[in-house]
């Protein structure tokens, strides 16, 4: 009895020790000089539709590197939890797909490795616009190749605007006026929704107004969730909610889908990628040709922001970073990769010259205007200088949670305040330096 006890204890200690060391070590990734003869197998995780076909195309295009693709859930459905846990445990993929907002977090947790030394910078990162490059470079190193650059776009039901006698709003002031006109014609409808579950949209709206939620001063972070530009945005949206021009509802929920299909919603604030979502939810209701894309309203001078977008990265658990880098370069810069993806969505790409391929691949016949023309215009006005913090999920969760009270008397302003506090304490808990 006693011996078994000892054995049991020893066994459990051994197992836990093995687990501990298993998490502590990853393959040492010392960037070798860029090698032209990278070969071997590469695993690739993504939640983007059509990426299986892109991997197939890459495999067919050469015979040195074999890519194995695996679909994972998107970030909102646990994709990042899966990715981050797998990398920490040492069995993550070679190539990951991470959105810009989450990338600094993966970098600061040491879960993705710098691409410098593996990729040819002159033909990749150096060709990007400053706005996009700033989203994947930290401390002078590049941690991902950007895939899409997603400008914030406002989608409208043109027929409903016409019926209400409203023009497509150019400014937020006109947006409010159009909302009032729409309400006058049909009191139960709304011009847009405020999504408690999409704080990145609140970030994009603030970005567009000139806010900087995260910035660095020397070796410290500075938070701006309470800056003047954000206050302006939050009081505007609060008024839109109070005047019932905007409906508070979860994005991508059944409620939202129903409101789109039955015409309760006259518009969707989203991005270029919203097209398929809108089409899927409204096609059966016979709304073909009624939806148009427009630049998001602004504060007087044309200004835009990114809402979403992903980058491809090499993870710390990659055993073949050289081959992974070759594949990433193909994913992010090759027209072939874009064409292979097929008609999966209205992508707008960061690498110059690729968007025309995406435009060819996407069937935009459902929409009533030249949506890619609108994307181009919106992309041209993106404000530079926005940066995501190293702990976005803390802010994201805090905002999501406090926005939950909006339907029962909560205020956007209070939500921003409490989320700012939560972010600050999150920074401090992980030892980051932050200026109050």
């Amino acid at each position: 009895m006693k011996r078994r006890h000892v054995l049991l204890g020893a066994a459990s200690l051994l197992t836990s020790a093995a687990l501990l060391t298993g998490c502590g070590t990853g393959p040492a990734t010392t960037p070798s000089a860029q090698s032209g003869d990278a070969s071997g197998t590469v695993t690739f995780w993504s939640s983007l539709a059509g990426m299986d076909k892109v991997a197939e195309r890459f495999n067919a295009s050469q015979d040195k590197i074999k890519v194995t693709f695996e679909t994972i859930p998107n970030g909102g459905n646990g994709g990042y939890a899966k990715l981050s846990t797998a990398i920490t445990a040492g069995n993550g993929p070679d190539v990951s797909t991470v959105e810009y907002a989450q990338l600094p977090q993966f970098v600061s947790n040491g879960q993705v490795v710098p691409l410098d030394g593996y990729i040819d910078k002159a033909s990749t990162v150096d060709k990007l616009s400053d706005q996009v490059r700033g989203l994947v470079q930290f401390d002078g190193k590049s941690y991902g190749l950007p895939y899409d650059a997603a400008p914030m776009i406002m989608w409208y039901r043109k027929d409903l605007l016409d019926k209400a006698g409203a023009e497509v709003p150019k400014t937020w002031e006109e947006f409010e006026a159009a909302g009032k006109k729409l309400k006058a014609v049909s009191p139960k409808s709304y011009l847009a929704s405020f999504y408690p579950n999409e704080p990145t949209l609140m970030a994009a709206l603030s970005w567009q107004a000139g806010a900087k939620w995260f910035s660095t001063e020397g070796d410290s972070w500075k938070l701006g969730l309470k800056d003047d530009a954000t206050k302006k945005v939050s009081s505007f949206w609060q008024r839109m909610i109070d005047e019932k021009i905007v409906k508070v509802e979860q994005a991508f929920s059944d409620e939202w889908s129903a409101d789109l299909a039955n015409g309760t919603l006259g518009g969707v604030l989203g991005a270029n990628w919203s097209a398929t979502g809108i089409q899927k939810r409204t096609e059966a209701a016979g709304q073909k040709g009624k939806w148009i894309a427009a630049e998001a309203p602004n504060w007087g001078t044309p200004a835009g922001a990114f809402y979403g977008g992903s980058s491809f990265n090499i993870t710390k658990s990659s055993k073949n970073p050289a081959a992974a880098a070759k594949f990433i370069a193909f994913l992010a810069t090759s027209p072939e990769a874009i064409a292979a993806r097929g008609n999966t969505g209205s992508a707008f790409l960061a690498y110059p010259g690729l968007t025309k391929e995406a435009r060819k691949a996407f069937d935009a016949g459902y929409f009533g205007n030249d949506i890619y023309g609108v994307f181009d215009k919106a992309y041209a006005t993106i404000l530079p200088g926005w940066q995501w913090g190293p702990n976005w999920d803390v802010t994201n969760t805090a905002l999501k949670d406090s926005f939950g009270a909006l339907t029962t008397g909560g205020k956007i302003d209070a939500a921003l305040d409490s989320s700012s506090d939560a972010t600050l304490s999150g920074f401090k808990q992980s030892g980051l330096s932050v200026k109050d």
Binding site: T85, P104, Q250, D401, G404
Partner: protein, 301 residues
């Protein structure tokens, strides 16, 4: 006789060990090791510095993680919410189960088998599916239920911050009452019929027999049910996490288990998540002990 026992106990011990090894093997790997590992994790923290891009180092921090968990308003708030949940859920579910079981057992009950099946049916629906179905029934603009209520002039949003807790309690009651009815009904079947007959001879009606004889005799089964329910509610996770897709009223840290999940997978703080999990496990152990103590005293009395 005595000699015989001794001789068998020699080989019996070895045989017993042989049979026990698989259990303890799995137990060690699936239970002891993770617990030990969580304990170890909970005393460390990943420390960053400056902007955070210079890598992390693991430092021993003693009880810091536990202090942080208890200092977190969202964690203590979640505990409070869970307590409120228990306060509504346990009386509703247990009371309902007792009432149904007594009704089924009443001699006048008709179509007993059919009702037994009907009552049990919701439990046959997996928890995730049940939550999805109810999320649909609660969502305004989609739900026929909400629409019917509106037609009757009742404006209710089951998913707003005020009503979401009772709404989730309702899912659990729907799911678990039937299961517990079956347990209680089985206990009722084992109540000696002579006692009931004697009571009837003494002039006790159905209600009197149910309250004064059957109910006290199923108290042991009842205390088992309460024990399992208490432990079960501490693990509340599935229903709120599904419902949170339909409404923002269910926050990511709504109950302690969600808090731990959020810490591990949203905030990437495995150490804090480990500390929270240990706290939840200790709470479950403490509560189970309290319930068993209490019920054994009640059964003796």
């Amino acid at each position: 006789m005595a000699r015989k026992t001794r001789s068998t106990s020699g080989t019996g011990g070895r045989t017993a060990a042989l049979f026990l090894v698989p259990f303890f093997g799995v137990f060690a790997v699936a239970m002891v090791a993770p617990v030990v590992y969580s304990l170890v994790l909970s005393f460390y923290a990943q420390q960053k510095s400056g902007l955070g891009f210079g890598g992390t180092k693991t430092a021993f921090v003693g009880l810091d993680n536990y202090v942080q968990v208890f200092q977190s308003e969202t964690f203590t708030g979640g505990l409070g919410r869970l307590a409120l949940y228990c306060l509504i859920y346990i009386p509703c579910m247990v009371g309902g189960a007792v009432a149904f079981a007594l009704l089924l057992d009443a001699t006048v009950a008709r179509a007993r088998k059919l009702f037994q099946l009907l009552v049990f049916l919701p439990h046959a629906v997996p928890g995730v599916i049940a939550a999805l179905i109810w999320a649909y029934l609660y969502t305004p603009g989609v739900s026929p239920l909400v629409q019917a209520l509106q037609g009757g002039g009742i404006q209710l949003n089951f998913l707003d911050a005020h009503l979401v807790l009772p709404s989730i309690v309702n899912i659990a009651v729907w799911e678990w009452t039937g299961y517990n009815v079956i347990i209680l009904f089985t206990a009722l079947q084992s109540v000696p019929r002579e006692i009931l007959e004697a009571a009837r001879v003494d002039g006790a009606g159905e209600i009197r027999a149910a309250l004064s004889i059957k109910f006290p005799l199923i108290l042991p089964a009842l205390s088992v049910i309460i024990l399992f329910t208490v432990i079960g509610t501490l693990q509340l996770f599935t229903e709120p996490s599904i419902i949170s897709k339909a409404t923002a009223s269910v926050t990511s840290t709504w109950v302690p288990n969600l808090w731990a999940y959020d810490a591990a997978f949203n905030r990437h703080n495995l150490n804090q998540a480990a500390a929270a999990s240990i706290i939840i496990a200790l709470l479950a152990a403490g509560l189970s002990l309290a319930v068993t103590r209490f019920s054994s005293r009640m059964n003796k009395a």
